[in-house]
């Protein structure tokens, strides 16, 4: 999966790293502790390009170590007091499909 182009017109202040867990494909985020979590809330953020590059480089090492697949940077915002993905695509990745799955309740996040 290639990294999507950030569509937001505004300059992105905060970035985080995501990818899919190798073993099961789950959406994961690189945490402040240098591990990976399925929860966006634990994610380490970078507020400038140098920090972002370092964060991505560390994630790419984890890709080499067969932990994560295709890590990439994406825009996040903490303006609401809670860390959130900026684009719809990343919000859906973070929280799951917005539709009901045969008996499983939809996540009302969009």
């Amino acid at each position: 999966m290639s990294a999507p182009v950030q569509k937001s017109k505004e300059k992105v202040a905060l970035q985080a790293v995501t990818g899919n867990r190798l073993r099961d494909g789950a959406v994961i985020f690189r945490t402040r502790a240098g591990a990976w979590s399925t929860q966006l809330v634990d994610t380490e953020t970078a507020s400038n390009e140098i920090a972002a590059a370092q964060l991505l480089a560390a994630a790419e090492q984890d890709a080499k170590n067969a932990i994560v697949v295709g890590p990439y940077l994406f825009a996040v915002s903490d303006q609401s007091g809670e860390l959130q993905a900026v684009t719809l695509r990343e919000r859906i990745r973070a929280a799951g499909p917005t539709v009901i799955e045969a008996g499983i309740a939809a996540v009302q996040h969009i």
């Binding site: 569509k7 937001s8 017109k9 190798l22 494909g25 859906i92 499909p97 799955e101 045969a102």
Partner: protein, 551 residues
């Protein structure tokens, strides 16, 4: 239907073993993702937004009850309890774990199924009319030819690295239910002036970012020449198809660039080197495959069924269901029953494990253990006795599969869209569901009549929006979901591409927009006209004027 021989079975089993080894090497870090990706894709395993997705081939959309039951088992044991039937007659599982994928392939191999050639630049699963073998208007069962194509094309060494993917569809009936004109190769069986049956060969059709209706390069091809002729087309494409630009690599671009006459000339020239050679099909080989598709022995059943007539008069919903979801069968006393996967509660094409198992039971009880998958994302019981319908319908009702909407406004095709797909720009499923919810009165649905809505979440057009009577394409406008509407598309024998009606509408306006278009049609239609007929008669202007006047 076709049964694997020893060669087929050992081949598929070997591939499972091979993939198990590849997965364990990947998990151990011995293979990088770059090395592993082509290997997993060759086995139908994609990585989507939330998880790995396994696309399982359903050759020409035909399943046995035993196979469907195994798909249910896979859904329950390895996924989240459901599967998604696709616009190419396949099934996708959306939540497969990489470390369990080899077990899933092993489970498929047990019932003579696999996920080979459901990805990559190869000849993909050949699709067919979902009413193949039973339709009253059919000349010959196209699945015989699909199976011959399957055996020829599976891991064909010369065509394992084509410029781009390659899709073939076959219809054996004049009423094209297989959308053959929007495939890389479309084959339409017909009789020539001498009464012989052969193929019209159509090439260079396709949807995606450059939609094109296929062109006929040969009006009549004798059946025994099918493979040599297909090989000639593939050779010309393999040699001259563009490899410098992924968006210009499909055969439709080649045909468009060199022209249909030149394409035809090159194919015929190549064919002269191949015809009457090793690819000519001997009569006994055709006979052998034909026997595999021999129809079941149909016991004589009544054509007029008093219990059915009584229920038709008594229950309007049953009458409506008979009208839209039971098609004429070539054997008197039987019907072809479409089980709607378009109730609107879940995504179009989704079926739970429980539904799949129950359908397998019903197929065994009422339909010679056979099930079909349509590219319109429904399931079909192809051989139901009319006398059994008063028992079958209530059973379908319990399962939520009784919606009387086949080919109606709520029988919507939709791709997985941004809810699942890594390529999508906008969501498709919620749009389909909102339209279905708006048109939830069956009386109104039937009053509107035949109307095909097709929704894609991106320009790749898996939801076939270009050939929707109303086509809807999701686009990303500065981070917001917008939907571009096309009108007048059609995938039948008189295929046309839809025309864009005007600026895209916001997500919260799309249902109203559809309602507006339907309103215009109802106001303008003349006696007996379907939406498409009215549109073709009056054109875009009035629809456009009223749509944007309301905005």
């Amino acid at each position: 239907m076709y049964r694997y021989d020893e060669f087929d079975q050992s081949f598929v089993d070997q591939r499972v073993t091979q993939f198990r080894d590849q997965v364990s090497r990947r998990l151990a870090g011995e293979l990088s993702e770059d090395e592993f990706k082509p290997l997993r894709l060759t086995n139908g395993l994609y990585l989507q937004l939330h998880a790995y997705m396994l696309r399982v081939a359903v050759p020409y959309g035909t399943l046995t009850a035993q196979q469907l039951r195994q798909l249910a088992h896979i859904a329950r044991r390895y996924d989240r309890g459901w599967g998604h039937f696709t616009t190419r007659q396949n099934i996708q599982f959306n939540w497969i774990k990489l470390d369990e994928a080899p077990d899933v392939l092993a489970a498929l191999a047990k019932v003579q199924m696999h996920a080979l050639q459901t990805s990559g630049n190869v000849i993909r699963n050949t699709t067919a009319d979902h009413f193949a073998g039973v339709a009253r208007d059919e000349i010959e069962d196209p699945r015989i030819w699909c199976e011959i194509i399957r055996q020829w094309s599976s891991l064909h060494p010369e065509f394992s690295f084509l410029p781009r993917k390659f899709k073939i569809a076959v219809t054996g009936a004049p009423n094209d239910r297989a959308a053959v004109k929007v495939h890389d190769i479309g084959l339409r069986m017909h009789r020539n002036a001498q009464g012989e049956i052969g193929f019209e060969v159509i090439v260079g059709g396709g949807l995606g970012r450059t939609p094109i209706i296929g062109k006929t390069i040969r009006k009549f091809l004798p059946k025994q020449d099918l493979l040599s002729y297909l090989e000639a087309i593939l050779r010309v494409y393999n040699e001259f198809g563009r490899r410098d630009n992924i968006y210009k690599a499909r055969i439709k671009i080649l045909v468009h660039e060199i022209g249909v006459e030149e394409m035809s000339r090159r194919v015929e020239e190549e064919w002269q080197t191949l015809r009457d050679g090793r690819l000519q099909l001997p009569a006994d080989a055709i006979e052998f495959i034909t026997k595999q598709f021999a129809p079941p022995h149909y016991p004589e059943r009544p054509e007029r069924v008093p219990a059915l007539e009584a229920l038709r008069l008594e229950d309007r919903d049953f009458a409506r269901w008979l009208r839209t979801n039971v098609a004429p069968h070539r054997v008197p006393g039987y019907g072809i029953v479409t089980l709607s996967l378009k109730k609107g509660d879940v995504a179009p094409g989704d079926a739970s494990a429980e539904q799949m198992e129950a359908i397998a039971d019903l197929a065994e009880k009422f339909g010679f253990s056979e099930i079909r998958v349509s590219h319109e994302q429904n399931l079909i019981l192809p051989h139901a006795a009319l006398a059994d319908l008063p028992k079958l319908w209530p059973a379908l009702k319990v399962l939520g599969l009784d919606t009387a909407n086949s080919n109606q406004i709520t029988d919507i095709i939709a791709c997985p869209g941004l809810d699942y797909c890594a390529l999508a720009n906008a969501r498709s499923i919620p749009v389909a569901q909102r339209i279905m919810a708006r048109f939830n009165e069956l009386a109104q649905v039937h009053e509107i009549g035949e109307l095909k809505i097709k929704i894609s979440g991106c320009i790749n057009a898996c939801g076939h929006h270009h050939v929707g009577h109303i086509g809807i394409l999701g686009v990303d406008k500065n981070g917001e979901e917008f939907y571009q509407i096309t009108l007048g598309g059609h995938a039948g024998e008189d295929a046309t591409l839809g025309s864009i009606i005007g600026p895209a509408v916001a997500s919260d306006q799309i249902v109203e927009a559809v309602e507006n278009l339907v309103g215009t049609y109802l106001d303008l239609r003349q006696e007996g006209e379907r939406f498409l007929d009215t549109y073709r008669r009056v054109g875009n202007a009035l629809f456009k004027e009223r749509l944007y006047a309301a905005a």
